[in-house]
Amino acid sequence: MSLKHYDRLALKMIIMTLSFSLIPLFALGTTIYIQFTTAYQSKVAESAKTLAQNRRASIELFFDERIAQLNTVAQTHPIEKLKDEAFLKKIFDTLLAKSKSFIDIGVIDSQGNHQAYVGPHYDKLKSVNYAQEEWFNAVLTTGIYISDVFMGFRKAPHFIIAVTTIDNNQIYILRATINSAIIDEMVRAGQVGKRGDAFIVNQENILQTQPRFSGQLLGKPTSPDFSSSVGSTVEFVNLKNEENIYATAQIKNPKWVLVIREDVQEEMAPLFKAQFVENLIMIFGILLVVIGTVVTTRTMTRRLEKMELEKAKSEDLMVQSSKMAALGKMAAGIAHEINNPLQIIGDQAGWMKDLLDSEDMKTNDNYQEFEQCIKKIERQVNRSREITHRLLRFGRRMETTQDMVDVNNLLSETITFLENEAHYRDITIQTQYDTGLPEITTDSNQLQQVFLNIIDNAIDAVGQSGKIFVKTAQPSNSSKEILVTVQDNGPGMPKEVLARIFDPFFTTKRADEGTGLGLSISYSIIEKLRGKITVSSEEGKGTTFIITLPVK
């Protein structure tokens, strides 16, 4: 498989894993987000609504109390007494003692004239006729009247409450002016937080109290028109990119609407904080999942790649060795086929020689020539015999076999092959065999090839007059392995060379001297024989190969 293929595989795996883990994570996160937001929003809305209702109750109670006070005054005193301004003053003082909100009080007859007045604007109001006033007609029909807020003479916001009473079949009106500051106070208690607001509008959507932010008293509020709201409502309104919660509560009498505005940002701050934390956790979780997925997938594909590579390598080796085995068989077959004719050629020549040796042939003029010819034939037969026998040995070596092998003997035999070359270069090969070594079951031909490669390499490495030390040992009698050490006192190798020594086609020899396959093949063979081969080297001191072989 190509590297690109592994990248694609890794990508696919990453996408799959991420989809399977991130989709539920997102789904869960979003659900929690939505659920939590909805729950919190309704909680905030609910509390705004409750606040509005509470404020309304206080305001209604205030109005009810004031009406009750005036009714009590009107019903419990004969009108004649109330017309007496000194008496009215006494009652007014009693009312003030209970509530500072009264500004003045007056008794008006059915024609709209002031019969008595107690208050700061006596001169101006005592002579006023209210017959044409809207409120005057309203109170005559309904019995109780509460006006909207107006500024009046004192330039302070106030409103009036008027009740009727009947005396001697005559209708009289008891009218009181009330400072609306006290209503303001009550409404202001509904202003929540730093940006919350609360105010009252009348049926014409005119502000009856001074809001914090939403406009001027007796002006139009900047908020949406809630003047026709019925009962109590709550809604989220997005105004100029600011989201607000508006809770309203309708006041029964007068027909005002209490509006409480809360800033969503402010009210929902804990929710936003929770959302922020959730998002943070989500991001962290996603990051963790992504990193985990990428790392795991990478590791897995790397391992897969390595396995595939090793498999390909061992397959290559198998193909190579089966090729070699086939080649060996072919060589042996050819050698065998040639041996028979060689035998016959040799024998025919021999027979000719036998005949030539008889007396009468010796006198022949060409005797010398015949003898020379026969000798040459015999020499060439011998030469061919050498070749075919070598081919047969090669063929045998290529076959994989399992023999009982005495490693010491195999080493001795291998060293004999190389002795000539060592002798020629004045190299000493010293041996130290552990005579108690058990025989091992292995492929003697292949093992011999390894010994040959390594000792041959050592001969090349030590150069003129070097020393090679070959040793066999068994770590202990019960040990399941034997060790073969080949040590030389050559120049050693630098680390870079040592690291690549078993790589195929790696060689430090000249191109015509080595293929760079010897140690690579040796490594493969030892691995195949389930052994180990290790090498250590020190520059200037020499190199040591240790082959560990299993005792089966």
């Binding site: 065998h336 028979n340 016959i344 040799g346 025919q348």
Partner: protein
């Protein structure tokens, strides 16, 4: 050299013919056979001291022939002749009682050396049996 009896069994006619001539020339009582069955047939009527037996022959292999020979004439010494790559058949021959095996092509002098040794052993064996 003492005149002893030699039988050559090999499917290569040229080889058998020549070697018989050369051995006779050296004063041995040599005969040839071109197959296992033919060799066994000859053995029915005549005793031999040494047999040269090719391992690889059609119809009846050298190993099979060797088994039959040893059944009939346990004392005769057999030298296996092999052109085959593997030494296994030679070794198998030894296990079945062959004296030795040599690999083709073999010079006559070498073969004679083996034959003489085989003959000597046969004499020793015969003496021991008497």
């Amino acid at each position: 050299m003492e005149k002893y009896r030699v039988l050559i069994i090999d499917d290569e006619e040229d080889f058998v013919e020549t070697i018989v001539k050369r051995l006779r020339d050296r004063g041995l009582d040599a005969e040839g056979a071109l197959s296992g069955p033919e060799g066994l047939q000859i053995l029915e009527n005549k005793d031999f001291d040494v047999i040269i037996l090719d391992v690889k022959m059609p119809k009846m292999s050298g190993i099979e022939t060797l088994r039959e020979i040893k059944k009939k004439k346990p004392l005769v010494e057999v030298i296996m002749l092999t052109g085959h790559g593997s030494v296994e058949s030679g070794i198998q021959g030894l296990q079945l009682g062959a004296f030795n095996y040599v690999m083709k092509p073999v010079p006559l002098d070498e073969l004679l050396k083996q034959m003489n040794q085989a003959y000597e052993r046969k004499l020793i064996e015969e003496e021991r049996n008497h």
